[in-house]
């Protein structure tokens, strides 16, 4: 349904329901006023006046009540719409409750909300991570996942399928394409990593990471990089640290289409224009001029979805929630 269609429907329903309500109020008010009026209209003109005034007040009150009812119903339907939106934007597909709390605390530690502006919290980094973990990234969909699985960092000699390699495994650059040699999907890698991180926080500081101060949280993350925590058994903590940094910054700086970088707060921090090249909002700027200029020009950024809506090419460009 397009946004305009939805608006139309909303308006129609808010009109219709108060109509029924108003009719009911008028009906009851009419019975009371008419009975009273029949008894008093001849003999007590003064009273009649008062009755008329009373009736008028009743009518006014009735109108007010009906207005309030209409407003309440309107608000209720807005609340329903809003709660739907909240669920769509802020729901979790795969992160469990304990995981949400921990991932949020780690993301806010890596990118804090501070004087420089909004951080991981406002950017919704956690939703980016949740959506990635439940999709291709978490399932290793584009990864080569055939055996044998041989972990890097073995000095040798090692024997694989009957072949001996005197010098073991080659040096592997940190976070490179050969570093992840685990046989499990990244979703399970994260589950194991988060549990072991929380266990390390408990053993080192006697408390959960999310309850600790900033310095202690940073120290825990540094310890992960240094492979210090003994609570990591299934995976190496340094590998997990790399993934935390990579995914947190990605959630801050990738297109909002993926659930993070909300309000494009990440792009606003780094001065990135997204899909706006100086014409999208009618600025009338020219990329050739921007390219040869040595004066920085701050453009209002745009996301891929905004760009698609604004250019409105055939085959799309409607956006919305159809």
């Amino acid at each position: 349904m397009s946004t305009s269609e939805k608006d139309e429907k909303k308006t129609a329903s808010t009109k219709k329901e108060p109509d029924i309500g108003r009719r009911n109020f008028i009906k009851y008010a009419g019975v009371g006023a008419a009975g009273f009026a029949v008894a008093t209209v001849i003999e007590f003109p003064l009273l009649n006046n008062q009755v008329q005034q009373g009736n008028q007040q009743i009518t006014e009150l009735n109108t007010k009540v009906s207005q309030l009812t209409s407003q309440a119903q309107q608000s209720q339907s807005q609340i329903q719409d809003l709660s739907l939106q909240v669920n769509m934007d802020k729901g979790f597909i795969t992160l469990g409750f304990d995981e949400q709390v921990l991932v949020e605390a780690i993301a806010e530690t890596i990118i804090p909300t501070d004087a420089a502006g909004p951080g991981a919290k406002e950017a919704g980094v956690i939703y980016f991570i949740d959506r990635q973990l439940s999709g291709d990234y978490g399932k290793n969909a584009n990864m080569y996942m055939r055996s044998p699985f041989i972990m890097p960092g073995q000095s040798g000699p090692i024997t694989v399928d009957g072949i001996t390699y005197p010098q073991g495994t080659p040096p592997v650059p940190y976070h490179s394409g050969t570093q992840y040699q685990y046989s499990i999907p990244l979703r399970e890698f994260w589950r194991a990593g988060l549990k072991a991180t929380q266990a390390y926080s408990q053993s080192a500081y006697g408390a959960k990471l999310e309850t600790l101060g900033n310095d202690q949280r940073l120290q825990i993350l540094k310890d992960l990089y240094d492979n210090k925590p003994a609570t990591f058994n299934e995976i190496r903590s340094r590998d997990f640290f790399g993934e935390l940094i990579f995914m947190t910054w990605s959630g801050f700086l990738m297109d909002p289409l993926y659930g993070g970088n909300r309000g494009m707060v990440g792009w606003k921090l780094v001065g990135f224009n997204g899909t706006n090249y100086g014409q999208l909002y009618g600025e009338g700027l020219d990329t050739k001029n921007l390219m040869v200029s040595n004066k920085p020009v701050r453009l209002q950024p745009a996301s891929l979805g905004q760009w698609q809506n604004l250019v409105g090419l055939p085959g799309g460009g409607q956006g919305g929630d159809t």
Partner: protein
């Protein structure tokens, strides 16, 4: 329905993979009236719909590689020497080791940066020219175990083929200065960035000969050799760099928008998409009789042909020949054989050592341009043998390119994700990346593409442990950089310091020398060589006509046939291009009169 074997009628030419080289061969041979079958494992991307609409997506393209071959199908394994176990590249990360193989018509050129420039005369006789000038002992000391071979033809021989390639591909730039004779390019250079102009002026003041960096991004609309109408670049910056963006304008050259449409218009090209070639059949004389491929429904097709052109990229070309029993596989222990011999890295030495500095009076906008280092200037004065190496301990040098902005367009990966570290946490780091794309002061980072000649220690073969999704062995790369790369980079970096100081940069510093664990940085992208052309069948796979010594009706072209594997100047597509015209001419000769060409 069960999958079945489908036998096709013989055709004149069968092309494996529809990338940059294949496009030239397809249009040239189809225009000559021969019947051509083109086999491509991917789709035919429509730049107007597929790229224009959804390409502005750093996550989807740069990391999730939505327009690329999926590693879940196949990968390569990598190691530094033959005594190590080779690790499979399991994922694409921004740190490198991305296997950005081609997928779809256009191949890898769909997502290259578009950096162009010919190889200079010296490159074609690197071995003999070095020995003539400095002696054999110098060469062996500079590059121990070196396996450098002269090309079978000279720069002058390749010149007409270069010109054909450049008019078709649409190369921008004026010319490449005194070290590159007769190099007037068909399209004007893109607009010059302020830092490009500053570099030009400073380099000239130091006595160097800078020229606008050649690119394959059309600087103005033009119509190419085959009547293809090409749009101009819009300089939005969503281009090459680390993320390998495809071009939504069709301005960045690749075969899908330069050659294949013209080949289709002849009515002689039968283009088959979603078809994965897995074997070449041969007869007793080792001539290729048919290509076997899988279609989308798993059916096996047998396509016979008179001639075959292997247009697969790099290790895939070598792998298909090894799997099909074609050629003589290289044996590193006895230093015999030629298939898989002599691979090296283009652009890889860049990680060895560089120079950083800050330009105080040149800020600007980092997001436009960026493409192919366009808007910049380059020079060859410190490349090849253009300076005296007497008393030095390495051969060659590097192209110097300055002028495009850092990272080139939308490359947020470059900011933070190359190698995660504890420094990337907290308010201090967050503040440090503020307004990166709107620099008041411009950070410069110049690295020499250190000269990387091949040695007899490096090779490509079939991995004994890992297979692809069809059960065929994966290619295994055994490759490292040698001391020539490191020594050249150290020397060149010192020269770069002078240039940056002349430009008025502050805080000019040499970066730390390379660390051991960085050895596998950025490869296997930019692999060069491994199935060389040459004059000697013992050390090369193909002759000067790009024709296989052992299977006379098999031709190939591409960076993979480069006999020196060097990266002295540019990306590899431009110097590979002439080979596709040589191969096309060779194939036409062969179809007229079969036999070994001379």
């Amino acid at each position: 329905m069960m999958s079945q074997v489908i036998q096709h009628e013989e055709t004149d030419l069968v092309i494996l993979g529809m990338g940059a080289m294949s496009g030239t061969v397809a249009v040239e041979v189809a225009k000559a009236g021969y019947k051509v079958v083109g086999l491509e494992r991917g789709p035919y991307w429509d730049f107007n719909s597929d790229y224009f609409y959804t390409k502005y997506d750093e996550w989807g393209i740069g990391y999730m590689r939505k327009f690329d071959h999926s590693l879940s199908n196949s990968t390569a394994t990598v190691r530094n020497n033959r005594f190590q176990f080779a690790m499979p590249v399991r994922r694409n990360t921004p740190v490198g080791q991305i296997i950005s193989e081609g997928f779809g018509v256009g191949g890898m050129a769909q997502h290259y940066g578009g950096l162009m420039g010919r190889f200079a005369p010296w490159v074609y006789k690197m071995r003999s020219a070095t020995i003539d000038r400095y002696g054999e002992a110098f060469l062996e000391a500079a590059v121990p175990h070196n396996d450098i071979q002269d090309w079978p033809m000279t720069y002058e021989d390749y010149l007409p083929y270069y010109k054909q390639w450049e008019a078709m591909w649409g190369i921008t730039g004026t010319n490449q200065g005194p070290f590159m004779p007769d190099s007037d390019y068909p399209l004007p250079p893109p607009p010059v960035t302020p830092v490009g102009a500053l570099f030009r002026d400073s380099a000239e003041a130091l006595g160097y000969h800078p020229f606008p960096t050649p690119t394959s991004l059309a600087s103005q609309p033009f119509t190419n050799t085959y009547g293809e109408k090409v749009n101009a670049c819009v300089y939005d910056g969503w281009c090459g760099a680390a993320c390998n963006y495809a071009c939504e304008m069709g301005a960045k050259a690749n075969s899908a928008y330069r050659t294949v449409p013209a080949a289709l218009r002849t009515g002689n090209l039968d283009l088959r998409l979603n078809c994965t070639v897995f074997r070449l059949d041969t007869d007793e004389s080792k001539k290729v009789t048919a290509a076997r491929y899988l279609d989308a429904q798993g059916n096996i097709h047998v396509q016979p042909g008179k001639v075959f052109f292997n247009g697969l990229w790099g290790f895939n070309l070598i792998r298909l020949m090894l799997l099909s029993g074609i050629g003589n596989p290289y044996n590193p222990a006895s230093i015999e054989g030629s298939l898989g011999r002599g691979p090296a890295m283009g652009a890889g030495g860049a990680a060895v050592r560089g120079v950083t500095g800050t330009l105080d009076n040149v800020g600007g906008n980092s997001y436009p341009a960026g493409n192919a280092l366009g808007g910049g200037y380059a020079m060859l004065d410190l490349a090849d043998d253009n300076f005296d190496h007497t008393g030095l301990d390495f051969i060659g040098g590097a192209y110097v390119i300055v002028g495009s902005y850092l990272g080139g367009g939308p490359n947020n990966f470059g900011l933070y994700a190359r190698a995660p570290s504890p420094n990337m946490m907290g308010s201090a780091f967050k503040s440090s990346i503020k307004d990166t794309f709107l620099p008041q002061k411009l950070p410069l980072n110049i690295r020499p593409n250190g000269m990387w000649p091949p040695t007899t220690d490096w090779f490509i073969d079939l991995d004994p442990h890992y297979v692809d999704k069809y059960g065929d062995p994966e290619p295994r790369l055994t490759l490292d950089w040698g001391m020539n790369t490191v020594k050249a980079a150290n020397y060149l970096a010192q020269k770069y310091v002078e240039i940056l100081q002349r430009m008025g940069a502050s805080n000019v510093k040499l970066t730390d020398p390379v660390l051991t664990e960085d050895h596998m940085f950025a490869w296997p992208a930019h692999i060069r060589g491994g199935a060389r052309i040459g004059s000697d069948p013992k050390t090369s796979v193909f002759n000067k006509w790009q024709q296989c010594w052992t299977s006379e009706n098999l031709f190939a072209a591409g960076e993979v046939t480069d006999p020196v594997g060097d990266n002295t100047t540019t990306g590899g597509t431009h110097p590979a291009g002439p080979g596709s015209y040589v191969a096309a001419e060779g194939i036409k000769k062969y179809l007229t009169s079969p036999g070994s060409l001379t």
